[in-house]
Symmetry: C2
Subunit: 384 residues, 2 copies
């Protein structure tokens, strides 16, 4: 037997130190900190991905997701990857080569939708607004008339700008133009009202690590009947095996056919995060996010700092304060991290150097965090 | 403010019970149970995905992976998904439409490689062996001569059959035929010798939840210089945004450019799992897996049960005992789960109903587990 054991090369072997991470307060664009009960669930003892107890948990996760998304969609599941994987899954499954896909681009994530759709060989068209603004129903209608898309993709809560896209009446327009409505709810789900069925949204995705306050690594998506019909009518195989919903549907559906090994412990954590939402209730949760956002906005005003986004379209879960003239935004963020263990993010793309991105998401949307942040920010502004 | 809070539909809201999972001993084809230190690391306090402390951890994970894989490959990273995502990532990046990809198919995962490669529009060719057998260098040489592939894909440890593909001399053949060698090491990495550089493997992937004994949800891949050159020479964009290594490389490389939010806590757990391998040392670990597998094989022999795979090519981390005549294999597995909380799996594909799949992987490769399993199996055989 011993002759089957070769010598190992030791050149990359080293003794890593015991894991020790700093106690950060995550007030950037995500991840947010998670609730202590989510942490406990995460480290619960593991079972197999086809264990009867896990199958039961999968059903619970699906039903809790329907509540959080306010949808009756049967096909509502978490994808085994981060939010970007769920984002890509929606396009990979619904786009066939040559389809016209119209994207509302008013920030980084609209751009990414264009990039992803093009990789599935969609004919991508764009309507655009400056970063921080939103689309009016008239602008969307004009886009639908002009481009006659198979899918309209919008970002509900633009994490790069802090703008919240109003959704009333857009679903009806999409039906009128026989177009599927795809919605990015990454930074809105569980923090601000997302009413998928009322808004007639056909396809949506989100992340776990924003207003749901679960670690990153699992991310939900949902397909309504019109999207499922489109999936069933595909002429070509989905050009992505891992994210192929015709295969995944058999694992999450009645067949329970093995597809890939689900991230067991991430599903535990996700269930607990969703369970906390159901306990609190969506209305209370939405109100809490608004109240704490308002506290932040008022406090920023007191410091003489204005917000980039007009209050009518301002996202409660992510605020983009304008960096005052003469201040180095990155230096302030660095100061907050080094001196107070607080993470806030700098702007990106069109807003690089111009704004900060401050998240009050899920568990982190609490008055004590706002108070600490404002006080620390005041110190940082005078120190850098 | 209150008028911004709509009424929520309560129809899918329910009070889920406190999370409570049964204490399973996972002796199937994976996931395996993880070490108590991995569990602790998993629930360590979270930081942001661009936090300096996380960037430091990423470097450590990469270096530990190089040791475990016995490679100097600079591009060695964990993918933010389960093993199937890393598997797909290798093909998505290295295949361009029309490329000839030759796959050795002697089990379920060879079949999957064919399916995945076809989705990236490869011209897929196959060499085949019955499930449980392996390819000889002569058979592989004949395949290379006949098909002149750009990539040869092999499964080192076939989780569906329990066969271990010998790798000596295959890398040299691939260089001779100017072909990249891609290797599935999902059920071998960290359990049986995997010597990527010595074997001249260009591309490899694995999972976290087998012999590395980390929860599923993160999975490594590595590209050698020849694979990186191929990636750099691509004429088309990678047809998968989430798994595009030209983008991911910027996050894991010196630039640290945001791509997607890494699964922070899964990276903590993965680092600890790799750290445990480095502490134990690969040679000791390989020997431990052989010793406990031998214990299992001898014990099965004592029960009159033979193994499906010839001992010369038998995988220590996954054994496929033949279900004796007149015994219902699924009923035995069910009995073990219900009465002893032990998970073993039934066969699949060509081996459905014919074998069990018993894993002794990573933390679970221990004498006490073998002893318990053999004793429980004996009881199950007389009970069903």
């Amino acid at each position: 037997m011993e002759n089957r054991i070769p010598r190992a090369d030791e050149s990359h072997r080293f003794q890593a130190a015991q894991l020790d991470m700093p106690p950060r307060l995550l007030l950037g664009p995500g991840p947010s900190n998670f609730h202590p009960r989510v942490r406990q669930a995460l480290s619960m003892n593991e079972v197999g991905h086809l264990d009867p107890s896990f199958i039961h948990l999968m059903n619970e996760v699906q039903e809790l997701l329907r509540y959080v998304w306010q949808t009756g969609n049967r096909f509502t599941i978490p994808v085994s990857g981060t939010g970007s994987a769920a984002m890509e899954a929606t396009l990979a499954n619904c786009v066939e080569p040559g389809d016209v896909v119209l994207i509302g681009v008013n920030g980084y994530f609209g751009e990414r939708l264009c990039d992803m759709a093009s990789r599935y060989r969609a004919e991508v068209r764009r309507i655009e607004k400056p970063w921080g603004e939103v689309f009016s129903p008239e602008e969307i209608k004009a886009g639908l008339e002009r481009h006659k898309p198979a899918i309209l993709g919008l970002v509900h809560a633009e994490t790069s700008t802090g703008a919240l896209q109003p959704m009333e009446s857009i679903g009806r327009l999409c039906r009128e133009f026989d177009c599927l409505l795809l919605l990015d709810t990454v930074t809105s789900l569980g923090g601000v009202p997302v009413l998928l069925d009322r808004w007639m949204v056909d396809i949506a995705y989100s992340g776990s690590q924003k207003c749901l306050s679960c670690p990153p690594g699992i991310s939900p998506l949902t397909f309504g009947d019109r999207a499922m019909a489109r999936l069933a009518a595909r002429k070509t195989k989905v050009a992505n095996w891992y994210l192929d919903m015709t295969l995944l549907g058999k694992y999450w559906g009645d067949e329970r056919t093995y597809h890939h090994t689900a991230p067991i412990n991430m599903n535990y954590a996700f269930r607990e995060a969703l369970r906390l939402v159901a306990e609190e209730g969506l209305e209370s949760r939405w109100e809490r996010h608004w109240k704490n956002a308002k506290l932040l906005w008022d406090g920023l005003g007191d410091l003489g700092i204005r917000c980039h986004v007009d209050e009518r379209h301002r996202l409660p879960s992510l605020t983009t304060p304008v960096v005052p003239d003469g201040i180095d935004g990155r230096a302030v963020a660095g100061y907050l991290l080094r001196n107070f263990n607080i993470e806030v993010a700098a702007g990106l793309g069109q807003l690089a150097g111009k704004v900060w991105r401050i998240g009050l998401m899920g568990f982190n949307s609490r008055a004590e965090n706002v108070t600490l942040l404002l006080s620390a920010l005041e110190k940082a502004l005078s120190a850098v």
